[in-house]
Amino acid sequence: MSAILANTAVVTGTPSPARRRAGGGLWTAVRTNRKAMAGLIIFLIFAAMAAVPRLFTSVKNPNDAAQYASLAHPGSQHWLGTTQLGQDIYAQLIYGTRQSLVIALIAGFFATVLSVLIGVSAAYLGGIGDEALSLLTNVFLVLPTFPLIIVLATYAGKGNLLVVIIVLVVTGWSYGANQLRAQTLSLRNRDFLESARVRGERRSYIIVAELLPTMTSLIVANFLGAALYAVLTAAGLQFLGLGDPSSLSWGTMLYWSQNDGALQSGYPVWAIAPGICVALLGASFALLNYAFDEISNPALRPVRRIRVKRAHS
């Protein structure tokens, strides 16, 4: 019973002070969480593929047409077969990692920055400023994002990578901003912020050095959520042919496989493999995201560990 009581105390209690939370504590938390580790390992493998594709394949220009026989079935020569244009599918997968990953990370990063800026300042400003920023957030929250993205991506230059990223950021920040606003509101009047105020610290210092570090795990979770959203949405856009069809990414691979009827003509690997990569990268973000939920809310952690604790105490 005491273990359960201790557990609830953690949930409702004050978050640990800034200096203990940031850095080391977070890493330990990730290391001891199985879901987080699984997500991290998948992510690192993809990161290696994106950084040094030559480690994984000997093909130099995976996008050049007619390098090999057209539509070869998977075999020892081409692990996953070749496309209609005679490109090696495995090599394309490896090289395609870079664009998908870059879109996810950059869009996720800027969406998170926007959420933090708007969410935290709304809560901190209060009054009319809060009302205005909250309204803005809520408007973006109820806008039909995917249709809007399709419209924007079509008209604002098909295939332009920058446009795709901007669109993902513009449509991806509102959910996080709402969460961060709520969290900031609940922290605003805590003692450690009050004491900083009494010390006469500037408001900007309090926000950056005192408030934000206590919200690290929420911010990281937001980043992961935004990155997941970016991966799936970008792949969907590219699948519809709204990316740059001549560049190489998992989404455009899916677009071409669909265009050339890979499923109907008996080359399912061509369509399935890039999708598995999108799903795996998405899963890695989702697993990390869920793990961060568990880290910031200990009650959600798998029961196993609680039992161990009880045996020790």
Binding site: N138, V142, I272, G282, A283, L287
Partner: protein, 329 residues
């Protein structure tokens, strides 16, 4: 009462903001409807005829923007949504939307409600039996399914069940071509058969989120004092599970459900696209590709109104269900 008035104010403001955005986005984009229309009619219509066509949906390039804007708001409100200048040139937008709406409501609407109900029940059970078999499997599995790309699951479905010569299920459209629509058993069976794969796709990708949030809410609620109080009073597990914990854990999910109900109107674009399902999502995609401004504007307006109405209804329901919301207002 103040709470409800505030929500009503929010409703009006958001609707206005979304409609305004809806007005300006197409006008800021490169390429004009006039040009698109000229291309579509292969230069056969005179400029005067084109202009009169355009003005029918409230787009008059020579008008003052402010006048256009007021006219646009008026048209949106009164249901004069103009005529399509896209793939089905000349057909009134209202008619087009009317044709696609039932299919989307039937497919996406039903699956959204199913995903929510099923997900909520599974989440309640998984959260209740902490450390049980279900609770061990549920989180990792559904974290992964909630990260699957919709359209890829759709492709997988086609590969598994609807390709080759011995296809189990159809993979294309809403019912077999040539069948007469009506309330005959044969027709209904055919429609259901066509809905299974797209429906399953939406269900698989949507259910994970509901399960996970419900489970997490449930666990957080179970550590509340009033649950312990219920236990101390010796209430039955069933009573605590549904009457005490689930009831409260359910509330935060309500607004999410309301929003996803609203977004039903926007269809499941990618799923409808893969399965050639003639719903609103597919229509929206086609309208975009064909620069069909009147259709696009009407669809966006409908989606926004649907989401906002759903959120508003959810606010009223919360007001009625949750005494705390009433006390605040």
């Amino acid at each position: 009462m103040r709470y409800l008035l505030r929500r009503l104010g929010f409703f009006v403001l958001t609707l206005w903001a979304a409609l305004t955005l809806n007005f300006f986005i197409p006008r800021m984009m490169p390429g004009s409807p006039l040009q698109a229309l000229r291309d579509r009619t292969h230069n056969k219509l005179s400029p005067a005829a084109l202009n009169s066509l355009l003005s029918q949906f409230g787009f008059d390039p020579h008008q003052n923007v402010a006048v256009q804007y007021v006219q646009y708001l008026k048209n949106m409100a009164t249901g004069r949504w103009g005529i399509s200048i896209g793939g089905s040139l000349g057909v009134p937008v209202r008619k087009l939307i009317g044709q696609a709406l039932p299919w989307t409501l039937g497919l996406v609407g039903v699956t959204t409600v199913m995903a929510f109900l099923l997900g909520t029940v599974i989440g309640i059970v998984a959260g209740w039996k902490r450390g049980g078999l279900l609770d061990g499997i549920v989180p990792p599995v559904f974290v992964v399914t909630s990260a699957l790309p919709y359209f890829w699951v759709a492709l997988l479905m086609i590969l598994l069940f609807a390709s080759g010569t011995h296809a189990l299920l159809p993979n294309d459209g809403n019912y077999t071509n040539g069948l007469t629509a009506g309330f005959s058993g044969h027709f209904i069976f055919d429609v259901l058969k066509h809905a299974i794969l797209p429906g399953a796709t939406i269900l698989i990708t949507a259910i994970g989120g509901w399960i996970l949030t419900m489970r997490n809410n449930m666990i957080t609620t179970l550590s509340e004092d009033y649950v312990r109080m219920g236990r101390a009073k010796g209430l039955s597990n069933r009573r605590i599970m549904y009457g005490y914990a689930a009831r409260n854990a359910f509330l935060p999910n309500l607004s999410g459900f309301a929003m996803s109900l609203g977004f039903v109107i926007s269809g499941a674009i990618l799923v409808e696209y893969v399965f050639n399902y003639p719903g609103l999502g597919y229509m929206l995609y086609n309208a975009t590709v064909n620069t069909d401004y009147p259709l696009l504007q009407a669809l966006f307006m409908l989606i926004t109104v649907a989401v906002l109405v759903a959120v508003l209804i959810c606010d009223f329901v919360t007001f009625w269900l949750d005494p705390r919301a009433r006390a605040k207002g």
